[in-house]
């Protein structure tokens, strides 16, 4: 990376910190909560987009990986220090940061274990298997008393501030964007476009499906860990099929394959219940309807495969200059 890019990155991070400070001091805590959850949703949507949108594989178990990240990181920061007081540093921001990353890695490993056998399967079968695995993960947590079983795990240090969540959202965006706009990204996209042609052009599609799955699960785990350390409490019911469907709606709404679409989808799905407060009871009736209508009327979602900057004229001209230069 060039120095100028590092500087830009630094400025953006500083702005996030600034915004966080502003929001947390001045806004109603409920509003801050919505905004933070929105950030977590964005990470979930961007990560699922890699599998569903870019690789063209249909995963319905994203919540399971979120759960792995949540439980693993929470175990490290909450249960370990309880059992071993010497490890109380794990409740400090640095320790939590490490736990969040470990949560992501754990989720990535889970993604590998689930993905390896499943990704040979065709579309609808894959959907069912990932649904099944998502449920199995949830049931496993339900049955481990050490992490609280059905009662859940309280007392998680609540250190996920606006800054940390959006800092991670920024990282997720940059990493996924750069990955997609690289040779690896092309390999993954080719799977979606035409598996047989991709194979004939030398792409080991089984391998890259798993790669997409693992990376996606990693970030889902990060999101889960951040979520756990924001809520202060987690239970297996939080990471159920409904949550997986929520993320699917975000990705489909924004446009499968579009990173900025995933961001948009995450924002809309997070804010919609707030804007339509009156629909609270009917939320899970309206959301599926949105999904159905979307599939009938605009299956490519808001942005389709494109990114939002593809539509801005200034950027378009810049791109043309670059392309012809």
């Amino acid at each position: 990376m060039k120095i100028s890019q590092w500087i830009t990155f630094g400025i953006v991070v500083a702005s996030i910190w600034g915004l966080g400070f502003l929001f947390e001091s001045n806004l109603n805590p409920y509003v801050v909560r919505v905004i933070v959850n929105c950030g977590i949703a964005m990470i979930l949507a961007m990560s699922l987009n890699l599998v569903n949108g870019c690789a063209g594989q249909f995963s319905l178990g994203h919540a399971g990986f979120m759960g792995v990240g949540a439980y693993l990181s929470a175990t490290i920061t909450t249960l370990l220090p309880m059992a071993y007081p010497e490890l109380s540093f794990l409740r400090e921001p640095l320790g939590i940061g490490i736990a969040v990353v470990l949560g992501g890695i754990g989720a990535g490993v889970a993604g590998y274990l689930v993905g390896l056998p499943s990704l040979r399967l065709r579309g609808d079968y894959l959907a069912i298997v990932t649904l099944g695995f998502g449920e199995i993960i949830r049931i496993i947590f339900l049955n481990i008393d050490a992490v609280g079983g059905p009662r859940g795990m309280p007392g998680i240090p609540r250190e996920s501030t606006f800054f940390w969540v959006y800092f991670w959202a920024l990282n997720t965006f940059v990493i996924l964007y750069r990955l997609i706009k690289s040779s690896y990204g092309r390999a993954i996209l080719s799977i979606r476009e035409n598996e047989i042609a991709a194979e004939s052009m030398g792409i080991d599609i089984a391998h890259y499906k798993v790669v997409a799955f693992v990376i996606s699960s990693f970030f889902a785990g990060i999101a889960g860990a951040l979520f756990a350390h924001y809520q202060g409490f987690i239970d297996p019911a939080t990471f159920n099929f409904n949550r997986s469907v929520d993320v699917v709606i975000m990705v489909v709404l924004g446009g499968m394959g579009s990173l900025s679409g995933a961001l948009l989808g995450g924002i809309i799905v997070s804010l919609l219940p707030e804007i339509l407060r009156v629909l609270e009871q009917y939320r899970m009736v309206v959301f599926p309807l949105i999904l159905i209508v979307l599939m009938l009327v605009r299956p490519m979602g808001l942005l389709g495969h494109r990114e939002i900057w593809d539509f801005l004229p200034k950027f378009k001209r810049k791109k043309e200059v670059k392309a012809n230069g």
């Binding site: 040779s183 690896y184 092309r186 035409n194 052009m201 599609i205």
Partner: protein, 255 residues
């Protein structure tokens, strides 16, 4: 054999009791331009699929430059050096023309994951290099001015050309073209003939093509194998094939 690009012997495959191809033999000399013809349903594309690992032969041997390819998966065969185009065009529709070609360079692993994420110097220089290579291929195929277009939006003829460019980007030793002239008009076919010859000469690649257009096949192929009902019924130079009574019978039936 040092002067053979590719050799197959005794390749056979059956589908549910039906012998689709049996006892297929082929010798393609280095930089040779060969043709595979036969009536519809003769098994030509099946042969391609066997050669590219899409199907695994029930029996027989095949090797590329001496290295056996039996049991290889399609992506391994591509890495070994065989590239192909498809009878029913299989482009990466939503990707740009340039991206379709760029994908093929992935088999040589230009850089690693960290390079991509951190946008290292290696990434930048390699991407530039690949883009230049891809662009020159596109120029050769007359597609350079459409490089940012979505592949699915290209005209039929251009889509066929793109498939060839994409296959060439793999820098193969053997190029398989499955009915490259299908759907082209006579001018486009003549252009194709020139293009295929030029490709063979410039890239030093052996070419095997399946075609129905006899003028094209007889025009550029040095050796032709004729398939009917999964079996070879003739093999030789264009002149020999044209005069072979069995070939005439297979295509036209007994008078």
């Amino acid at each position: 054999m040092a002067n053979l690009a590719f050799e197959a012997s005794g390749l056979s495959i059956s589908f549910g009791g039906l012998k689709a191809v049996s006892g297929f033999n082929l010798k393609i000399p280095k930089e040779g331009l060969c043709g595979l013809i036969g009536p519809n349903g003769a098994g030509k594309t099946t042969v391609f699929n066997l050669m590219t690992g899409v199907y695994r032969p029930d029996s027989g041997e095949m090797n590329l430059g001496g290295k056996s390819l039996v049991g290889f998966a399609p992506h391994e065969i591509a890495k070994a050096g065989i590239a192909r185009t498809f009878q029913n065009i299989r482009l990466f529709g939503d990707l740009s023309v340039l991206e379709n070609v760029l994908l093929s360079y992935h088999i040589k692993k230009p850089y690693g994951y960290w390079d991509s994420i951190l946008r290292t110097k290696r990434f930048d220089s390699k991407e530039l290099e690949l883009r230049e290579k891809a662009l020159s291929l596109l120029e050769l195929m007359g597609l350079a001015n459409r490089k940012e277009d979505r592949a699915k939006n290209l005209s039929y003829g251009n889509q066929r050309r793109l498939e060839i460019a994409r296959a060439l980007a793999l820098e193969p030793q053997l190029l398989l073209l499955d009915e490259p002239a299908a759907g082209l008009n006579s001018k486009e076919k003549v252009d194709l003939m020139h293009t295929v010859s030029e490709i063979r000469n410039r890239f030093k690649v052996a070419v095997l093509l399946i075609e129905h257009d006899m003028k094209l096949v007889m025009g550029i192929c040095e050796r032709i194998t004729v398939l009917d009902h999964g079996e070879i019924i003739a093999e030789g130079t264009p002149k020999e094939i044209q005069e072979n009574p069995k070939v005439i019978e297979a295509y036209l039936g007994v008078a």
